[in-house]
Symmetry: C2
C-alpha cells in the first residue's frame, strides 16, 4: 500500500523516494532490476528506491512522510527514524491498535507520539482502498483524518482518487482497526448457514456499524466518521474480500478457529481480521464499552473456539436484551 | 413478502387471514390444494386463504392489517378496501414512490391516505428482508417506521426476527424506494470495469448513503434512519442481489440500457431498480434536492442511454465539484 501511495504521489508531480524496511527487499529487488513490483504487478519506472539502511537519506528534507509500514513494524521503524525524522506531517495507511507504554491498547498515532517523544503530526488515511486498484487509478474514496488532513489531501487528491477530510483521527483509526474484526465475523455466515443468509449478513453489517459507532463515540470520535468512507465504505469492501469468506466458511462449518487459522497461515491466506478481533475485544474491555454483542460473538467463535452456529443463532436474542 | 409476513404472524400466535389480489391466484392455488407456495417453496398449512372477491370478509374485525401489495397495485387495492377497511394500523412492506393526486411523486403512506380520505395509520416495514429467509426464520433485522410502529413491532418480533422502531416514516420509506435505484447503479461497475473495482464499488456505496441522507433530510426525515437497517442494511443486501449485477454487467459492457431492460423483462429478471431509478430522479427533481451526482449518473446511463464507463469515470470529478 505504501508503494501504491508513492505511485500516486509521483503522478501528482511530487519528487518521491520509496524506502523499504529490512523485510521489504523481496519487494524492491525486482523493480530495482527494472522488473515488475511483485505485489502490485506494475513497473515502478524511475521511482527512487531506498533500502533499509538508507532511512536517514530517504527522509532528508521531506515535506511529507507517507507511512505504509504495517502495525507490527511501525513502532520499531519510528524508533529507528526518530533521530532524523523531519518535523512534517505523516500520512499513514498503517491500521490497527497497539499496546501503549502503559500496556493498554491504543491508537497508532498515540503510540507513535510516545515513541517520538512529541506529537507525531499523524494523519490517518482511512477508507476502502485496495492497493492494486489505487496504483491503477481505479476510482477510490479515501478519508484523511487528523489536524493536518487538508495538507495531505491537497498533496494526494486528483484523477480517480477522491479524498475527503476530517479532524476526527480517533474515529477514523478505530474504524480502520475494527472493520477487519467485523468483516471476518460476517464471513462466518457463509459456513454456518450458507448462501441463504442474506438477511442475516445484512443485519450483522448494520449491527457492526452500530457497534463501531459505540466504540468510536466512547473514544471521543464522531459518529459521522463511522457512517462515511472510513466505516461503512471500508467495511463494505473488507466484508467482500475473498479471504474473510474462506476463513468464515471453514470455521462456520464447525471447525475450530484455531485450527483454521493455523492452516490458513500456512497457505499465506490468514486475514488481518484474525488478530484484529483479539485487539478489538481487548480494547473494548479496557475501555469498558457496552452493547457490542456481535463483537463478543465473533470473539467467542474465533478466539474461544465456541460453535459458530450456536453463537450466530443467539445473536437476535442478544441484540434484543 | 406478504405471505412470509403472514407466516411470521401465525408463528407469533395470531389468528391470520391471507388475502390475495386478483393477480395472486397462481400463488394461492397450489397451497389451497395443500401443495407448496410457488415462490416461498413452503407449505402454508392451515393458514386461512381468501381470494380477491373476499376482501371484505378477510378484513372484518382485523386488529392489524399487513399490506404486501406491490406499489403498482396498492392504491387500487386500497380504493376497493376503503368502504370496509377497519380503522387499525397497517403494517406495509410495499415500497416505492407514487404520483399523488397533484401528480407529484410522493410517499406511499401519503398516497394511501389520500385514497382513504383519512390518516392511513401506516407503518412502513423497512430493512433487509428477503421473503424466502423471513419465512424460514433466518436472522433478519426489520426497522418499523410510523406513529404506531411499537404496536406492529410487538405483534411481529420474536425468534430470529429483530424489529427496531422509529417514528420516522419519511426516512424509512425513502430509503426503501431509493435503495433499489442505487443498488442497480452499483452493479454497473461489474460490466464497465470488471471485478477489480472493489474500491469504486465501495466509494459508490458510501456516496449512495450520502445522497440518500440528503434526500431523506430534504423530506424532513432523519439521517439516523439512513445509517441503520433501512438504509445501510437494505442497500447492502440489495446491492448483492444477483439480478442487479446481471443488469449492471450487461449495461456496463456498453449495451443500451433500454435493450437490456427489454431482454431482462422477457426473461422475468428485471429488477425493481429499473423503474425505481426513474421515480427517484423525478422525486429529486420535484423536491429540488442538490448534490446527487451518483443518482444523476445512474439515471443518465439507465434512462438516457449514456455510456456507462464514461459516466462512471466522470464521478470522482463530479463528487469533488
Amino acid at each position: 500500500m505504501g508503494t501504491a501511495m508513492a505511485l500516486v504521489a509521483r503522478q501528482r508531480g511530487h519528487e518521491v523516494r520509496l524506502w523499504g524496511t529490512w523485510l521489504d527487499d523481496p519487494m524492491l529487488d525486482p523493480p530495482a532490476r527494472g522488473e515488475l513490483h511483485p505485489r502490485l504487478e506494475l513497473p515502478l519506472g524511475d521511482l527512487a528506491i531506498f533500502r533499509a539502511p538508507a532511512l536517514e537519506e530517504a527522509l532528508r528534507g521531506a515535506e511529507l512522510v507517507i507511512c505504509g509500514v504495517n502495525s507490527d513494524g511501525v513502532l520499531e521503524v519510528m524508533r529507528r527514524a526518530r533521530a532524523f525524522l523531519p518535523d512534517v506531517p505523516i500520512l499513514a495507511v498503517t491500521k490497527g491498535l497497539l499496546p501503549n507504554t502503559e500496556g493498554r491498547m491504543d491508537r497508532i498515532d498515540r503510540c507513535v507520539s510516545e515513541v517520538l517523544g512529541r506529537d507525531a503530526r499523524w494523519v490517518h488515511a482511512s477508507g476502502p482502498a485496495k492497493a492494486m486498484e489505487v496504483a491503477r487509478d481505479v476510482f477510490t474514496w479515501m478519508h484523511f483524518a487528523g489536524k493536518e488532513a487538508a495538507f495531505c489531501a491537497a498533496a494526494m487528491r486528483g484523477n480517480a482518487l477522491h479524498v475527503s477530510e476530517t479532524p476526527d483521527i480517533a474515529g477514523a483509526e478505530l474504524c480502520s482497526a475494527l472493520k477487519n474484526a467485523y468483516a471476518t465475523g460476517l464471513g462466518l455466515w457463509d459456513g454456518a448457514v450458507g448462501a441463504a443468509a442474506h438477511n442475516a449478513r445484512a443485519a450483522c453489517f448494520t449491527q457492526a456499524i452500530v457497534e463501531m459507532e459505540r466504540i468510536v463515540r466512547a473514544a471521543g470520535g464522531l459518529a459521522e466518521t463511522v457512517y462515511g468512507a472510513s466505516g461503512v465504505g471500508d467495511l463494505h469492501v473488507t466484508a467482500a474480500a475473498g479471504r474473510n469468506r474462506i476463513f468464515g466458511e471453514r470455521v462456520g462449518k464447525g471447525r475450530k478457529a484455531s485450527d483454521v487459522a493455523r492452516e490458513m497461515a500456512a497457505e499465506g491466506l490468514l486475514t488481518e481480521g484474525y488478530a484484529a478481533i483479539a485487539s478489538a475485544m481487548r480494547y473494548v474491555a479496557e475501555q469498558k464499552v457496552e452493547g457490542v454483542p456481535l463483537l463478543r460473538a465473533i470473539h467467542a467463535v474465533i478466539w474461544e473456539d465456541r460453535d459458530a452456529k450456536t453463537e450466530l443463532l443467539a445473536l437476535p436474542a442478544a441484540m434484543r436484551s
